[in-house]
Symmetry: C2
Subunit: 452 residues, 2 copies
């Protein structure tokens, strides 16, 4: 948990939404999981591990403020449906989930995240204690907890798990949505949240259909409805908001609700709307970035979400107001802030969650300091991330690589049967109607026009 990053070529640290600092040649000393010294030279306590960073950029680890990590098992499973048709198929496949499958699938998701520079994530899925177990096994910070309507809401049990996690796990109450949960349970969730001061993590205003259904049922838009019940507060984390109105944003800003946007997921599911990022930021709303599950966005990569955030914003607004620096801030300090972790920044007192980036690849040329933030947001590959450090511990590096790959391959063995079972549920595959691929049966060469 203690580590010296010696002579980082550059250190990139978001100071504010509009200002990213780029320092040259700095040491970073992490002790007991926290940055203790950030300076031209930090004294190394005897026996501490040292990484020579002369060829690396150091920057804060990325935060994935909304995901369903175990859904890597459903990656590529239901690519071509809009949300409600998609949910039908996903829920059918999820009926066959076991505790084991969730643990090992989350493990694979965590390996993917560690390799992609993510230090902390916020998760909503079945068997949430298995999600915690997998995250701690890999060494990532995690926020998750019981799903309202499915899991026991005994908060003491979760608080106990928290206190045995050395600060790496925090509880949230996972409330699927206004349309997916009974009202008496929703009421109970908000009561519990208030009593125990625990955050609620909830999908809101994701699709126009949701907004329409809520409006028809309650006579109000989703955020209007939550406001009318007194449920907007700094304890609410509102995920998506693709179809939120500006007057709802005023409610959100006033109540200090935190927000997570998921650009790839929304585009892939053809939701049509786009979280009104500029209006959010101008109101001072705290915004973090999420990948959503791998069945929606197909990848647990915040690198990709940063880029998508800028591109979708610009495409929607017809202007270039948003910059790489905004995306980098939102992906680091924004996401960590939404998860109430003091991170996303390189300064004494912040958590020791840092990624080291190798600059020496053609696609990061030219490496003038003025272009580094641009390169990180628009050009970086996962493979440029050479070290992911969380809580002062190396969770991914060339040295740990072999171990993680072994762990990954081992984990797949526990999921393969589940994969086979859900494959049989796919009606496109079953009916041979899949338009997107065809698998010619093995035949003799003479029968097969494609085989020479």
């Amino acid at each position: 948990m203690s580590l010296l990053l010696r002579q980082c070529k550059y250190v990139i640290s978001p100071l504010s939404l509009h200002e990213i600092a780029v320092y040259g040649e700095r040491d970073i000393l992490i002790e007991n999981g926290v940055i203790e010294c950030f300076a031209k030279h930090c004294d190394a306590p005897r026996g501490i591990d040292i990484i020579d960073c002369r060829e690396f950029i150091a920057m804060p680890a990325l935060g994935n403020a909304h995901t369903h990590a175990a859904m890597v098992a459903l990656r590529g499973y239901a690519d071509d449906y809009e949300l409600f048709e998609w949910l039908e198929r996903v829920w059918q496949a999820e009926k066959l989930l076991s505790r084991d499958v969730v643990y090992f699938a989350t493990l694979i998701g965590c390996i993917e995240m560690a390799m992609s520079g993510i230090g902390a994530f916020q998760d909503m899925y079945f068997f949430p204690d298995e999600v915690v177990r997998a995250a701690l096994k890999i060494g990532l910070r995690v926020r998750t907890g019981p799903i309202v309507g499915i899991d026991n809401l005994d908060m003491k049990r979760w608080k106990a798990l928290e206190s045995s996690s050395n600060g790496m796990f925090n509880t949230v109450i996972n409330l699927h949505s206004l349309y997916g949960v009974d009202m008496d349970l929703i009421e109970k969730a908000f009561e519990l949240s208030k009593t125990h001061s625990i955050d609620i993590h909830m999908h809101i205003s994701e699709t126009r259909r949701e907004v329409f259904e809520v409006k028809r049922r309650f006579g109000k838009l989703p955020i209007e409805f939550l406001e009318s019940r007194g449920w907007l507060s700094p304890r609410l984390i509102a995920v998506h908001l693709n179809w939120v109105t500006t007057w709802e944003l005023d409610y959100i800003a006033r109540a200090k609700v935190r927000v997570v946007v998921n650009p790839t997921s929304g585009a892939k599911l053809a939701v049509g709307g786009f979280a009104p990022l500029r209006e959010m930021l101008e109101r001072g709303i705290d915004v973090g970035l999420g990948t959503d599950g791998a069945c929606s966005s197909n990848r647990l990569s915040i690198l990709r979400e940063m880029r998508m955030l800028v591109l979708l914003y610009r495409h929607n607004y017809w202007d270039t107001w948003i910059r790489a620096s905004h995306a980098l801030y939102i992906a680091t300090r924004g996401s960590y802030g939404v998860m109430k972790i003091r991170g996303g920044v390189i300064e004494p007192g912040a958590v020791g969650d840092i990624v080291l980036i190798d600059l020496k690849t053609p696609w990061l040329y030219p490496t003038t300091p003025t272009r580094l933030v641009s390169h990180i947001v628009y050009a970086l590959e996962q493979s440029n991330i050479r070290y992911t450090i969380v809580n002062g511990r190396v969770v991914w590096s060339p040295e740990t690589s072999e171990n993680l790959v072994k762990l990954f391959l081992e984990a797949t063995k526990h999921i393969d049967r589940y994969i086979d079972k859900i494959e049989e549920l796919r009606e496109d595959v079953r009916k041979g109607e899949a338009r997107s691929f065809t698998i010619p049966k093995p035949r003799g060469e003479q029968d097969c026009p494609q085989a020479g």
Copy 2:
């Protein structure tokens, strides 16, 4: 130029826009740059190089049908401007270009493309003979040629270069746009194109401002104007078309004009429009995919463009009609078709341009055959591409990696002075007004609040 790919675990080959074949366990034999055998077993001529492909997916190399490869030197240079303000800054920087800078910058661009699975590209830039030289040095197929208004239009010289290139280079006439070139030169270009049967490669209807300017000047929309002059033909390659109308698409379809779309570039430059992909495909128009230059999209990666194509389509159309299979077809067979190269498909007679993909990474799990096309489009990283083979020759692989990195680092030395010079032109940097980054001056720790 001869190579046996033995026992590929899967071979993925686009049969049509709506059908991608996934074959299990196949050999691919390339002789003299062309696929000679594709079957369960191909006999290996004595002494031929063999790659053991039991762990790999083989698929056609990607085609980058529109780029300005040397603009890697301007990567991250003018990220935050819309097209006309962007052009101002780019043209200013390009005034300082030399023949040498273009050669070495193109070399870096070609290395990036080779590492990203691109086998062929179509380029528009200054010193086009240097572009050809760099492409052939790395081993990529290239289509480029004189820029109308800048270069000598002596077609015999270009045809001679062509015939000495062993089929790896083909000439196009590079016509910047209707708004950027004098009308008498535009007329001359279309005459030459007809006389010599040479394609014209041209930006058309990229921004609403261009469409507006053309309409004001000529009383017609860009494609309407070209049609009225009789300039639409199978020899025209129309790039962008973000603001094209459906009746212009009818003209395009009738005249068999070929089209290249560049989704990331358009979004990043906030052009607002989006090439109406569905209407193009439904009219049977041949569509290829391009990265544009690295000063617009920041990366020469068709992998990224495939994903963006689906995501931007879905975001625009509010439906999931487009699938991974469409994007894969357009990126391979589509782009190769636009460039008039018989490729983008695995079958005897097609060019030996193939990439080998390593499946064993967490982000490509699960690897059921039904999900492979999805993974390639939505989940693949550059690092999954283990071999790029062009014309039967390995241009990128773990074995050639060290050489290419050396070549890249060597090339940067020839460009660094140019980079310094154009850096001084940046008014955001010069005035210290850059909002997106700040570079604290090296100071003693006690002065610097960020340094611990």
